[in-house]
Subunit: 211 residues, 2 copies
């Protein structure tokens, strides 16, 4: 957005802070084990401070501005990831960042008009894991307009993913009938999603992004 | 999020559809002139359809799920941009996508639980524009906790940007006192931001992402 660079990065190296951040990320072990944890934030605080220092009245305490800053922060995050790939660095993207944002805000002293949007744990890798499976491009590319999915499309696009030994095993150990049920009933349930939607909106309000 | 690939890409090549999309993007000429326009969407529709086809009950009609899908779509978008850079393709990222989303939703027939989040115009470039200016890394990197900005920090971090001939000229032609005022008073005003926050939230609700 106008090359305003609406992001900030908080670098965590101290063991003490990693231990505090760990439960917020569901105690995934890389938060403590990786040498560096990066919390990338949507940031309209710096730009608003700049404006006030320059006799200008910022008007960025609203939802559109959150989306603009979060977008900028995520584009920055992914380019950082791609550059780290080129350097041979390893990282893990933690989706847990938006699950309990208020705790991160408090721990990292994030001021009004900033918001944590992504976390990367970073280090030199001691393994070369296989690439993740991907749906075929035709499953998500639509020509001219969105072509909604028929049951036969779903079968065609998801068959390979569902038949991977890793995913068949995932279904077995979770005692489910289908891979989709592992997602809907265990990993990302309606109950959790709705509860975390509320805490996310509450934190957005507290940080000044919902008026 | 669980490698669900929560995005879709709508490819626009037809002149007719480009002409319809053009006003939504404030008639920026590249929408019509570029051979291809890509509208990248947050998409929980495909995953929810997959779930229903597999005897699973999806619970992704909520705000957290929108943020998860928008995140996934933006990370995809930026890797696509970085790969296009490597191929020598040129593109322009249109921030206008979230300004009038309902029009895009209607034009591209985007179903419930999808949402347009980024647009790229793509083509083979006939110029090599200079890189955009960037703030120094120390302006957005914080060690261990967020260190809020003093007026002296702002002076130090923004001086180079403000003194660029291009930006000095930008202030002059807009008859403003400072570069920041060009942003707050002309390009991204409180009035516009607040109005577009409302239309954005309305469209999110209509697409099923606000319960």
């Amino acid at each position: 957005m106008g090359n305003l660079q609406l992001y900030s990065v908080i670098v965590t190296r101290s063991r003490e802070m990693k231990q505090k951040l760990s439960p917020v990320h569901f105690n995934q072990p890389m938060v403590i084990e990786a040498p560096v944890v990066l919390t990338i934030c949507a940031d309209f605080n710096r730009t608003s401070t700049w404006a006030r220092c320059r006799n200008a009245e910022p008007g960025y305490d609203n939802f559109l501005s959150f989306i603009n800053a979060a977008t900028d922060a995520l584009l920055f995050t992914q380019t950082l990831c791609n550059l780290m790939d080129e350097e041979g660095l390893g990282y893990c993207y933690l989706g847990t960042t938006v699950y309990q944002p208020q705790q991160i805000i408090d721990l990292l002293h994030l001021p009004r008009l900033t918001f944590p949007i992504a976390t990367l744990t970073v280090g030199w890798p001691d393994e070369e894991p296989a690439l993740s499976d991907r749906l075929p491009a035709e499953s998500f590319v639509h020509e001219e307009r969105y072509n909604d999915y028929l049951a036969s499309d779903i079968d065609r696009f998801y068959n390979e993913k569902e038949q991977l030994e890793e995913n068949l095993n995932f279904v077995r150990i979770n005692h489910k009938e289908t891979l989709a049920q592992v997602f809907t009933d265990i990993r990302y349930t309606r109950k959790d999603n709705e509860a975390m939607s509320t805490t996310l909106l509450d934190a957005l309000k507290k940080q000044g992004f919902l008026g």
